[in-house]
Symmetry: C2
Subunit: 456 residues, 2 copies
Amino acid sequence: MTTSAPPPKTDSDVTRLEQIQELLDRDSWREAADLLRKLPPAEVAHVLEALPLTQRQILWDLLDTDQDGETLMELTENVRNELVQNMDQEEIVDAAQQMDVDDLADFIQELPVDVTREILESLDEQDRRRLETVLSYPEDTAGGLMNTDTVTVRPDVTLDVVLRYLRQLGDRVPRNTDQLFVTNREDKYLGTLRLADLVTHDPQQTVAEVMSLGVQPFNAYADADDVARRFEQYDLLSAPVVDDDGRLVGRITVDDVVDLIREQGEHQFMGSAGLSEDEDMFAPVAVSARRRAVWLGINLATAFLASWVIGHFQETLDKIVALAVLMPIVASMGGVGGTQTLTLAIRGIALGQLSGKNALYLVIKELAVAAINGIIWAVVVGLIAGYWFHSTDIALVIGAAMIINLIAAAVTGAVLPLLLEKLGIDPALAGGVLLTTVTDVVGFLSFLGLATLFLL
Amino acid sequence: MTTSAPPPKTDSDVTRLEQIQELLDRDSWREAADLLRKLPPAEVAHVLEALPLTQRQILWDLLDTDQDGETLMELTENVRNELVQNMDQEEIVDAAQQMDVDDLADFIQELPVDVTREILESLDEQDRRRLETVLSYPEDTAGGLMNTDTVTVRPDVTLDVVLRYLRQLGDRVPRNTDQLFVTNREDKYLGTLRLADLVTHDPQQTVAEVMSLGVQPFNAYADADDVARRFEQYDLLSAPVVDDDGRLVGRITVDDVVDLIREQGEHQFMGSAGLSEDEDMFAPVAVSARRRAVWLGINLATAFLASWVIGHFQETLDKIVALAVLMPIVASMGGVGGTQTLTLAIRGIALGQLSGKNALYLVIKELAVAAINGIIWAVVVGLIAGYWFHSTDIALVIGAAMIINLIAAAVTGAVLPLLLEKLGIDPALAGGVLLTTVTDVVGFLSFLGLATLFLL
């Protein structure tokens, strides 16, 4: 139950990783494995993720500890799947037996049916029932996030009785228990008894007198993102989860919420490059190449769309070659300006701070910002381009195109993610590609179009 | 001490925000303010951030609760500064007095000297000393993150004595206390006594017998990012902070770590668009325009660099206009491929999983991925371009340029962030601009260069 001892504080994560790497460089595999075995699962996972594929696999095979199950669950999904693929059925079942129910529920869904069956058969009646409870809720809900290791007490007993009950439980009080849940005979959730309240009140008082009623339980179908936000806003350490009838079915602890928040952040960042937040830095080349190919293919289609637009102005380009030299500037500035608006909007949506109501304000504000910057940079670009190619006409055309494209970029950046969200498409993933398609097309069209109209 | 009651569970954040917005649409300012006053500071902050500037300011002036200080600290820095600018000195001092010491330490550094002096004078001796302790450490260290509200016990007393002491303290036990810290007479940190252990052991046992020795304290100068990672890895709820002599100076709680992790994620995501993680969605137009102008200006410089490269091939473009039509494709694909590698590398660095040791593996792997995708898409692009312009030569040139640029992109994407990190430049901020500069230049240079060599 006690947290395992972390290594001396001078060992930062990076230097520990380097220690392992040095051992591997000297082919001291056993020593490296011995060192790893002393670390908690999360740190083992951290080191494994940072190792190239072959080293990772060899070390994993050497490790084989009774922490394998926990370590697996600390790995990102892609790394875990890679390792599990090379484990035999017995090893997988062994690992599964070390997992918490919430982890096991995630794990089991990634496995072949026959392995799943064997794992289910290896569980005792109680654990199987608990697992089925968690599995009955979608992964991205409070029910999918929760664990079933709740300690419950009745409202009419005294704190003294609770204290004696806890002493009996001893080590079986689950990790990171900051509060007990108060339920009635039908398992209906009534309130929580915080350990801090338990120890600061007279033992003769009843649970009903001391318990907090303010902790609102999560419905098991509540959105996991909403759960995370509530944890942040209320500084929660744990929270009860109830079913539609108000019966306590489990609890969510802040450590799982921390992982969720980390994933959300990575999802936005990695998603904008077309990567999954589970992307393994050292994934097999074939796997990486295949995944990347899809994204490059999508972008190639949009790039050809832009080329097709340019293709309509071949006559113009043929006559004024300066246009070919300058045209990427207009497209590029639109992309940069639009991405800024898009990024603000995507974050706003993810935080639940941007909806239909205030979207209009955002569009107006971003339009104003784009107009100001459009004018400023139109003047700068116009002056430089005009001087370069000794042409006032080119200066005027590129300046006008710049203003048009920055304004189009601002509107697209603000409206597009809201539209995608409405259509059920993830703006963090699709927003960037679509935005630059618009800014490329508008950029080339406005610049070459204006040039065709006024310069030929 | 008890958590304030959240509103009914059917009220998700978005609908609550919409409720407020509807009230404001009907000019029911008082009603909106009354509704807000019932919410905890974090939710008030959430709503305020989602409101356009004018509405936000009016509502803030109406609010004026004894939670103003906490609400201010829940706001992102830019929104907070905007509001504080319009507060008079008395209001600021009032708000400051409601803050925790760690928040106050952050807050005070953003204020003019005379306001700071008044706040310091308003504090009692103990709070001033505590504030000075926190202020003596940089903001991004364990010391800057910690609070000073620790409850300490001596090792030689019995649990029974601890329980009586806690009952005396009652409501003064700080929020989210999951463990007490064990110190000797010189305030040296010895171990922690978890409340869960306190309630599950015989009251006649001594603290020394029950306390956990495994919880390694953070040195006050430890990097805040390392602190966050340790919290994640060990599923910590709180952790002790000690000075260089091992004396307990404070504790870090998981709710502050949650905020830090959220900020780290937003920093990467927003940074790649040249925005700060504190960027206010509804910042004043002039402020936004100025900040954005800098980023657009930097990008304009890189765009002109690309144009300058193209400018050297005017003769070639003049002869084969198809090159102008196709050249953005090569540059764009390089940018997309390189950004994927860059994103992986930036995350690896941020997680402490990428350093000199395994960087070579990443470069080799990304090179292999780029080579495979380079060949695949070179064939596709070559076929389309060749068919479009009826020219095998163009097909061969664009295919070769594509392979060159994707390979250059992969190397740059993997090496650049490590180089920037070494130079003390934030790769999340500068990486994207520099990468696309490279992929634009290499893209145009290889495509137009090869065309000049082989097609003229």
